[in-house]
């Protein structure tokens, strides 16, 4: 138990060292019925002295989380998978409806409105930041 606690503390310490200056705010998930994928939204701030690149995301509550972007072109909507999003030092990127979004697929259990779901953002070089995403209903905007 003590060893586990020590491990958690060291893991937290490690992640805070690695991810110094990277913060996430306004994180929420639009939960949809019928087992269809949910959209995840947030703003990522890079207050560190170096550029960072977001390369992935995962959550213990979903089988798969992907970085996506909606593209509007000639009257059609298209979803693009995104491999890498660069955020310059002092910069920010916002995932918002109609733009960048997380696609959260195949929830492992029932997702309750109003609950908080941890999502870990993964950066090139291996740094990670975990944020709590608030679960909102289909008509949230």
């Amino acid at each position: 138990m003590a060893r586990l606690a020590a491990l958690i503390v060291s893991a937290l310490f490690a992640s805070s060292v690695w991810a110094a200056g990277i913060t996430v705010s306004g994180a929420w998930i639009r939960h949809l019925p019928a087992g269809v994928p949910a959209g995840g939204y947030f703003t990522l701030y890079n207050q560190s002295k170096d550029a960072i690149a977001l390369v992935g995301a995962r959550s213990p509550d979903y089988t798969m989380v992907m970085l996506h972007k909606t593209v509007e072109e000639g009257g059609t909507s298209r979803m693009l998978a995104v491999d890498r999003i660069e955020v310059p030092a002092g910069g920010a990127v916002t995932f918002h409806p109609g733009g960048y979004h997380l696609m959260l697929m195949h929830a492992k259990h029932e997702i309750k409105l109003g609950s908080r779901i941890p999502v870990t953002l993964v950066f090139s070089g291996g740094a990670k930041v975990t944020a709590q995403f608030e679960v909102r209903g289909p008509t949230a905007r």
Partner: protein
């Protein structure tokens, strides 16, 4: 004397022009009055009932194409429409949103039912046979295409982002696009309802 009379006439003309202007309807979304074919289709609604355009005559119809495995733009559009309809004078009582799936392979009638009901009472999900879907999409020059399935069989669908609006007689009236704000949609639906005398 003649000069004064002329000035009076000019003033009257200006007033008349102004009055005419104030009666002219200004639309905030795109006015396509009669430019697209009258609403016409045969499909199955989300309760499993066979429906046609006639089923919805007398109501303002908003027609939108999408699919349920669409985590961003489809629910974002439906959520915006829900807010816009709720804010209309009649709270959308005279309006029906028809959400037509362009992915009938994955979107069953029952899945559509669960999905659209979550957005509010104004939404009806429509599922067509391949022929029915082709007829309706061709009629409004709506395009859709499927991406390559990944190893789990998931695939993405490219689809038209416009919302087509028809009045109670099935006449095409407006097109709404993703950048139209909810309050612009509310204002235009109220104007359309006022013209329909409902």
């Amino acid at each position: 004397m003649l000069q004064r009379l002329m000035r009076l006439l000019a003033m009257l003309a200006a007033c008349a022009a102004l009055a005419a202007c104030s009666h002219k309807v200004q639309w905030r979304t795109d006015n396509i009055d009669g430019l697209m074919p009258t609403l016409d289709f045969h499909m199955t609604d989300d309760s499993g009932k066979a429906v046609t355009a006639q089923t919805y005559r007398g109501k303002i119809v908003l027609l939108y194409f999408g699919y349920t495995n669409c985590p961003d733009v489809c629910p974002t559009t439906l959520a915006k429409l829900a807010q816009a309809l709720k804010n209309t004078k009649n709270h959308g009582a005279d309006i029906q949103v028809l959400f037509v799936t362009v992915d009938p392979k994955r979107d069953s009638v029952s899945r559509m039912h669960t999905y659209v009901r979550a957005f509010g009472p104004w939404f009806v999900g429509l599922v067509g046979t391949p022929d029915e879907l082709r007829d309706l999409t061709k009629r409004y020059r709506v395009t859709y295409s499927y991406g390559k399935p990944d190893k789990d069989g998931n695939y993405e669908v490219t689809h038209s982002s416009a919302v087509f609006v028809f009045d109670g007689s099935g006449r095409s009236r407006l097109i709404m696009v993703p950048h139209d704000a909810a309050d612009a949609i509310t204002a235009d639906l109220d104007q359309l309802a006022a013209q329909s005398g409902s």
